[in-house]
């Protein structure tokens, strides 16, 4: 039941928020997400206690009805969605007031997005995955465009095209699979797809992978991401970078672990190679970016690359999966914090340039701490979640003898440090710039949200054992 509520509730409050108008809509959304957080906690608790389970919607099982499946990984990601969303809706509320915008469309779209995310994480068949991906993509595009600025519309259009092409690829793949095997259920397919599949099945897999890589903005398919995440409104960028790109990665991981678990090992090097390229290219662009939000967006491109390094390491078992989950968690929290902090900087100084941050030196200490703590996690320095993810990744790489990967992970931590300290060094520019630039006041809520998210991205490292436990009890299929 819990799962069904998690999908219905955001849709319900989205509708209510739309009907109630912007001001009351904000309150409704906050209340809704708070309840979702409690539900997600209960769900995680249930999975931890009783193991993975399947829920047939309306009592109709597959193949007629829709099955939802929850295991440790999906429960964890649902929980993460809530943990990121709750601070961000509070942030959005304060942000809208400060910007003197009403955000009429923001709240309904947000509800739609969260419902799609929840449904995606618990989908048990390919067609449901397609539908939720499509909903997610449309919601995300609409959110980017919702600010109404010219560059936002342009970025949204680009995002829309990429997203539609990707969905098309994915749907084509699903259709081929259904044509050959007569089912879209992941559990059934895992049994029916032979260890040595035929060419059409492989082709279908390749099509789905291509679509998903575009949606995850894996290098070299990342073209749409910096513009979309860099130009969207701050809370939207935070949500997209933290959660939405992770959803399509989750689908890749899910397929790799279930339907294609037999033969995919020979091809694992491909996503890993692209992931390595993403790390280097994304970091390089982040080092050169002039706009603050562009820097953060390119950092997302780089950090997503880490996730794809995982595939050749999956053979070592739970260790690799834990590394991946930690990286997803730590990056989601840290990136949400960075975009939230960038939104504060933009609001206060009216400038979105890295150099412009210097005008904030000596003020807004909480925001600076948010930059610092989130940066620590992205650089992979202890004791953050990002550090433990990196540690486990290197550990797994040593077990598999992947020496180049170790070098890459260590070097990329230094690259991340280089671009993060472009931001942090601005905090100390006070001596030269005593001439006071008129700063706009920033609501304290926004500052606390950025700080709390950043602190969580560091502290999640200390709870890694609980996370590994949850993944272990309800392990992915």
């Amino acid at each position: 039941m819990l799962i069904a509520w998690l999908i219905v509730l955001p849709l319900a409050w989205a509708l209510a928020a739309w009907l109630a108008g912007a001001r009351r809509g904000a309150t409704i959304a906050c209340a809704g997400v708070l309840v979702q957080l409690l539900l997600a906690l209960a769900l995680a608790r249930e999975v931890a206690a009783h193991g993975p389970f399947t829920y047939a919607v309306g009592g109709w099982g597959a193949p007629l009805g829709i099955d939802l499946h929850v295991d440790g990984l999906s429960a964890l990601l649902v929980l993460l969605t809530e943990v990121v969303a709750l601070p961000l809706v509070l942030y959005t509320r304060a942000w809208l007031v400060a910007q003197e915008q009403d955000g009429t469309y923001l709240w309904p779209l947000l509800g739609l997005l969260l419902a799609a995310l929840h449904a995606l994480f618990v989908s048990a068949d390919l067609f449901n995955l397609y539908v939720t991906l499509e909903l997610l993509g449309l919601g995300a595009v609409a959110l980017v465009a919702s600010g109404g600025e010219r560059k936002q519309l342009a970025a949204a259009l680009r995002y829309l095209v990429a997203s539609l092409v990707a969905s098309g690829c994915f749907l084509l793949g699903v259709a081929v699979i259904y044509g050959i095997h007569g089912t879209v259920s992941l559990a059934d397919l895992a049994e029916r797809v032979p260890a040595d599949p035929t060419t059409p099945t492989l082709l279908a897999g390749a099509l789905m992978l291509l679509g998903l890589m575009i949606k995850t903005a894996l290098f070299p398919f990342h073209g749409w991401l910096p513009a979309a995440h860099g130009s969207a409104a701050a809370p939207v960028s935070a949500l997209l970078s933290a959660l939405v790109v992770k959803a399509s990665f989750y689908v890749i991981l899910r397929l790799r672990l279930s339907v294609y678990s037999g033969w995919a090992e020979q091809l694992d090097w491909l996503p890993a190679l692209l992931g390595g390229g993403a790390i280097l290219y994304g970091s390089w662009c982040a080092l050169r970016a002039e706009r603050l939000k562009m820097l953060i967006a390119y950092s997302t491109v780089a950090q997503l690359g880490y996730l794809f390094l995982l595939f050749p390491l999956l053979a070592v078992g739970e260790l690799a999966l834990t590394a991946g989950a930690l990286q997803i968690l730590a990056h989601a929290l840290a990136k949400a914090a960075l975009f939230a902090a960038a939104g504060i900087a933009l609001l206060a100084s009216g400038r979105d340039s890295v150099a412009g941050l210097a005008s904030l030196a000596g003020v807004l200490p909480l925001t600076w701490f948010a930059f610092g703590l989130a940066g620590t996690s992205l650089m992979g320095l202890p004791p953050s979640g990002g550090f433990l993810a990196k540690w486990l990744l290197i550990d797994a790489a040593i077990m598999r003898g992947q020496w180049i990967m170790i070098l890459l992970v260590v070097a990329s931590g230094l690259l991340a440090a280089a671009y993060i300290f472009r931001i942090l060094s601005c905090a100390f520019r006070s001596a030269e710039r005593e001439q006071a630039v008129a700063l706009r006041p920033v609501p304290r809520t926004m500052e606390w949200v950025a700080f709390a998210l950043a602190a969580a991205s560091v502290l999640v490292g200390l709870e890694a054992n609980a996370i590994a436990g949850l993944l272990g009890t309800g392990g992915a299929r």
């Binding site: 040593i398 170790i406 060094s425 100390f428 001596a431």
Partner: protein, 503 residues
């Protein structure tokens, strides 16, 4: 919770909590901030004294937290940890007093003292770490906590210095991380063990172990400023004087040197390291650093830069002592960990006093300065004599044991290096002392900030710390055989490290 867990936890918390609270205080609450700082520092010192007696009596202090299966944050207050903890908590108290006086009325004091406290917390964590994972966690935390202190002044030069510092130390951290995981792949998780933790490994791992040793020592060698990894240290001199004191004596270079001690004695084990043939290269690097640092110090006119190169040189005494096989060299290296700290911090306090009181930054401006500031100059002279290993100072004790160790280890050349270094130290310190005491003072000082009031040549918060550490420099030399002296403690540790061996 019993006291065995509570005391080390409280030692960490006694600087961490004040640090966090200070960050949240408004800038204007300077009285609350001072109270918090001093309360934290005094609490820490009291805790350390209790544990000193406890450890001598054989009590266990430590706790663990499992982060992931097989990965633990583990703390253990052993004799070696206490040596470092005692040094840093004692000097932290003095440096805090000094910093309160030094930074009076300057901006961003809560940021400064917040990171200052974090820095000491990281140092304590490094000292108490019971395995390589924990050591690394706090080693990186130290890097992050010192960056804001070096950049504190916010000038172009300060930020440049901080960026260089960060570049060096983050690369060092990456080397340490690689080394740790490399070692883990050979030997599993490594717990620090007296006498070495890698005893049972066969000969087929020799190359792997050598690589791991090189990675780890190069990594910590960045903070210990081993040549050629020392480039950050002179540039980090742009930081305010209390930070320099902290970098040079209490935290950063000490953490590096301490890391070398842990890695050689408690990861590899000194005899296994000797058998691997990695000690001689380390000794050669250390000796090179000793000579090179002193040579560079000769030509520096800026007082703090001269002291910085002197630190480069002096810290490698510790590495040299560690790299020579035999208990006497070990004792010499360990005791110098403490002795270098109190001597160098004295010199930095004095340099800060000259700059803050009279605006004197260069050696060439120091003519006759002892007439204006006799107490500070007396402390400076004692510190300088200690650096030259003059009799009755702490430096003499260090040098005595190191030279004896060199002889015992059949490394006579190391003895020559030490003698040469003493002469070089004399060559760059004696001219300063001569200028200060024997030349005529100028008619006006460059920038006199603080006027003289009776016997108080400068603010009493600035004057007290160097006098205390100068007295300690003499005390550690004259009273070296007392029960709680650094020397006695170093002998205790050396006895434990060599307990299982035939030596």
């Amino acid at each position: 919770m019993n006291t065995g867990v509570l005391l080390p936890l409280a030692t960490l918390a006694s600087s961490l909590l004040p640090g966090i609270i200070i960050f949240m205080l408004p800038e204007t609450r300077s009285r609350t901030r001072t109270t918090l700082n001093l309360a934290g520092a005094l609490t820490k010192l009291a805790l350390v004294v209790v544990m000193l007696f406890g450890v001598r009596a054989g009590n266990d202090y430590g706790f663990r937290h499992e982060v992931l299966p097989g990965v633990q944050l583990a703390f253990e207050m052993d004799a070696l940890a206490l040596l470092f903890v005692t040094l840093s908590s004692g000097l932290w108290l003095l440096t805090t007093l000094y910093a309160i006086g030094y930074l009076e009325q300057s901006p961003h004091r809560n940021r400064f003292f917040g990171f200052f406290s974090l820095c000491v917390t990281a140092t304590i964590g490094i000292a108490m770490a019971a395995n390589l994972f924990t050591f690394f966690v706090f080693y990186e935390l130290l890097t992050l906590a010192t960056y804001p202190l070096v950049a504190h002044r916010g000038t172009q030069k300060a930020r440049r210095g901080a960026a260089v510092y960060l570049g060096y130390t983050l690369v060092g951290g990456a080397l340490v991380l690689t080394g740790i995981i490399w070692l883990r792949s050979i030997a599993g998780p490594v717990e620090f063990t007296a006498g070495g933790a890698l005893g049972g490994l066969g000969a087929e791992h020799r190359t792997g172990l050598r690589i791991a040793f090189a990675l780890l020592v190069a990594g910590v060698g960045v903070k210990a400023a081993l040549v050629p990894l020392h480039g950050w240290l002179p540039r980090a001199m742009v930081a305010p004087a209390p930070v320099s004191a902290l970098l040079h004596a209490v935290a950063v270079v000490k953490a590096g040197a301490f890391g070398i001690v842990r890695i050689v004695y408690e990861v590899f084990g000194v005899e296994q390291a000797h058998a691997l043939g990695v000690l001689t290269p380390l000794a050669v690097v250390a000796a090179t650093t000793i000579v090179w640092g002193s040579l560079r110090a000769l030509t520096q006119d800026e007082l703090k830069r001269r002291l910085a190169f002197s630190t480069v040189s002096q810290v490698s005494y510790i590495a040299l002592g560690v790299a020579m096989l035999g208990p006497q060299a070990t004792i010499g290296g360990l005791v110098h960990l403490v002795h270098q700290g109190i001597m160098k911090i004295t010199l930095f306090f004095c340099a800060g006093n000259y700059a803050e009181t009279l605006g004197v930054h260069r050696v060439s401006e120091m003519d006759g300065i002892a007439r204006r500031m006799p107490l500070t100059s007396a402390a400076f002279t004692i510190g300088a004599l200690g650096m030259m290993s003059a009799p009755l100072t702490a430096g003499a004790v260090s040098k005595h044991w190191l030279s004896a160790g060199a002889e015992a280890a059949d490394m006579a050349w190391a003895g020559w290096v030490l003698t040469a270094s003493s002469l070089l130290n004399a060559a760059y310190f004696l001219p300063i002392v001569f200028r200060a005491w024997c030349r005529q003072p100028p008619t006006a000082w460059p920038q006199e900030h603080i006027t003289r009031a009776g016997w108080r040549e400068t603010g009493w918060l600035l004057l007290l710390p160097p006098l205390v550490t100068a007295a300690a420099t003499l005390g550690a030399g004259v009273l070296a055989d007392l029960p709680m002296s650094p020397l006695t403690w170093a002998r205790l540790i050396a006895a434990r490290e060599y307990a299982g061996s035939s030596m």
